[in-house]
């Protein structure tokens, strides 16, 4: 089967190592995962994220419609503000996580995951029935890239007409980048300060504008980074990977997402009753971070055992070596009674049990050393 290509494919095929990522031909690394990881923690890197989903919702009922579909509450969002949320099934499982940006009261820009791109747009479309809202899937008509790291502001400023320094976290702005009309948002998936850049009017069939923006940002100092470091960076930051750490079988209250669930908002939201019922019945398993104490690297689907090694208590949903920390870390789910900080757990690595402990996971690192909070 032919892999789907993004706007930046021509660059990847020349400089990167391509893998099949959910049907997309994407670079796993260019120079090496660790060098790319460190570039983002120490300076600035750039990721092609054009495989992600992005849509525009416009019309008089836009906000009312979106607020019914998502669990968080858009009603207090100011113009050009953004909001992280999940959207849920009627059974209370997570369809996807997403960010919604308010361009106007009646116009929202929505960004969501690559793996659920078609499913999400179909979900929006299905639930928009009865609302006066027009939905447009812009994913193939807009290149998208993330510029991440403590030097992201100066890198983006080097190629934009506007000064992006004042764009607040999660806000969106219109800029001209190397002569190209773009949105930028002060967001990312690495834990670091940075921007996601959306090059407007850039169809997949003639992606020159996307490549031009990419090359301008690379020339301004951003190191091209592949999906390998994207995954190690987001894991260190404790950010969920939709479809893996959270999915339709996950109740958002299990996944430390209580803060995006608004039980009291006007009109409620899809899945609210089921989530409320689960809450009243008691949430029995919760997401935790695990840091390895002994040797070994936890991986997706490895078993989590209790500290005595008596038996399985849970499963790793994401794991790997944390390059900035120098040891293995994991996200997974365990019964609440095993979730206290510093609780000893074991990870089953092949045939042996390796010792780990429950740690703070959002982020795993000290946020005065790494991450956006230390910048400024």
């Amino acid at each position: 089967m032919d892999l789907r290509k993004t706007h930046i494919y021509d660059y990847h095929v020349k400089h990167g190592n391509i893998v099949d990522f959910g049907g997309f031909a994407m670079p796993v690394w260019y120079d090496g995962i660790i060098a790319e990881h460190n570039a983002v923690r120490d300076a600035v890197g750039i990721f092609d994220t054009s495989h992600m989903g992005r849509s525009m919702a416009e019309g008089p009922d836009t906000e009312r419609f979106l607020n019914r579909v998502i669990s968080n509450d858009l009603s207090k969002l100011g113009p050009m503000g953004g909001l992280y949320s999940v959207m849920c099934t009627p059974e209370g499982g997570v369809v996807d996580d997403l960010i919604l940006y308010k361009l106007r009261d009646d116009k929202y820009f929505i960004v969501y995951n690559a793996g659920t791109r078609e499913k999400d747009f179909a979900w929006f479309t299905k639930h928009s029935e009865g609302y006066d809202v027009e939905l447009k899937d812009l994913s193939d008509n807009m290149a998208m890239m993330a510029v991440q790291g403590p030097k992201a502001v100066e890198t983006v400023n080097a190629v934009t007409e506007e000064d992006v320094t004042a764009v607040e976290r999660f806000n969106i702005a219109e800029v001209t980048l190397d002569g190209l009309p773009c949105f930028v948002t002060r967001t990312g998936y690495t834990g670091e300060d940075g921007f996601e850049v959306y090059v407007k009017d850039c169809p997949l069939a003639s992606p020159e504008k996307g490549l031009k923006a990419w090359n301008a940002l690379v020339d301004a100092g951003a190191k091209p980074c592949g999906l390998g470091s994207r995954d190690s960076l987001r894991l260190e930051a404790g950010l969920n990977l939709s479809g893996q750490d959270i999915h339709e079988g996950t109740n958002p209250l299990e996944a430390k997402l209580r803060w995006v669930i608004k039980f009291k908002k006007e009109g409620g939201f899809i899945g609210m009753e089921a989530i409320q019922a689960a809450r009243e019945a008691g949430i029995k398993r919760v997401q935790v971070g695990v840091a390895m104490v002994g040797r070994g690297i936890p991986r997706h689907d490895y078993e989590i055992w209790d500290g005595e090694g008596a038996g399985k208590i849970g499963v790793v949903t994401s794991g790997g070596l944390a390059p900035s920390l120098g040891y293995g870390i994991a996200l997974g789910y365990v019964p609440r009674e095993h979730s206290k900080l510093d609780t000893k757990v074991m990870i089953k690595i092949r045939s042996r049990l390796a010792e780990g402990k429950i740690v703070k996971s959002h982020p795993f690192y000290d946020d005065s050393v790494y991450g956006w909070k230390r910048v400024k």
């Binding site: 190690s232 040797r295 991986r299």
Partner: protein, 135 residues
């Protein structure tokens, strides 16, 4: 493709990209090939067997891990583990830097050397095998 990958003459190779080198005393050094280390890239963790463990022909005796991927280490010969390369515990990158030298994995006392060697490829056959690998 194969020109990108070093293949040492005189070694015996598996389809899974391990090598075996018969030493003068009859013991066998085992490791992974240049192709294997380049596929894994940046090896960050190595899991070794214990001295005295027994190894089956193409049985799993350990693992090599990069940031992204885990790869089993299979023993090209059956026998008993005589020695392991403990230097890899602190310096797993030696497998990348010197897959046929400092990056050796373990030393095995073979139990059916002739039988196992007959199933392995020589350098010329392994070079051909690499040409058939996609990527």
């Amino acid at each position: 493709m194969s020109e990108e990958y070093e293949v040492e003459d005189g070694l015996h190779y598996t389809e899974e990209h391990e090598w075996a080198k018969v030493l003068d005393d009859g013991s066998v050094l085992i490791g992974v090939t240049d192709y294997a280390q380049k596929q894994l890239h940046e090896i960050v963790y190595v899991e070794l067997p214990e001295v005295g463990d027994s190894a089956d022909y193409m049985g799993v005796v350990g693992a090599l891990e990069s940031v992204k991927a885990v790869s089993d280490m299979n023993s090209p010969v059956a026998g008993e583990i005589l020695e392991v390369n403990e230097g890899l515990l602190d310096s797993p990158e030696q497998v990348n830097e010197s897959p046929y030298g400092e990056g050796w994995f373990a030393k095995v006392k073979p139990s059916d050397l002739d039988g196992d060697l007959a199933k392995l490829m020589d350098a010329a056959a392994y070079r051909e095998h690499l040409k058939s690998q996609a990527h």
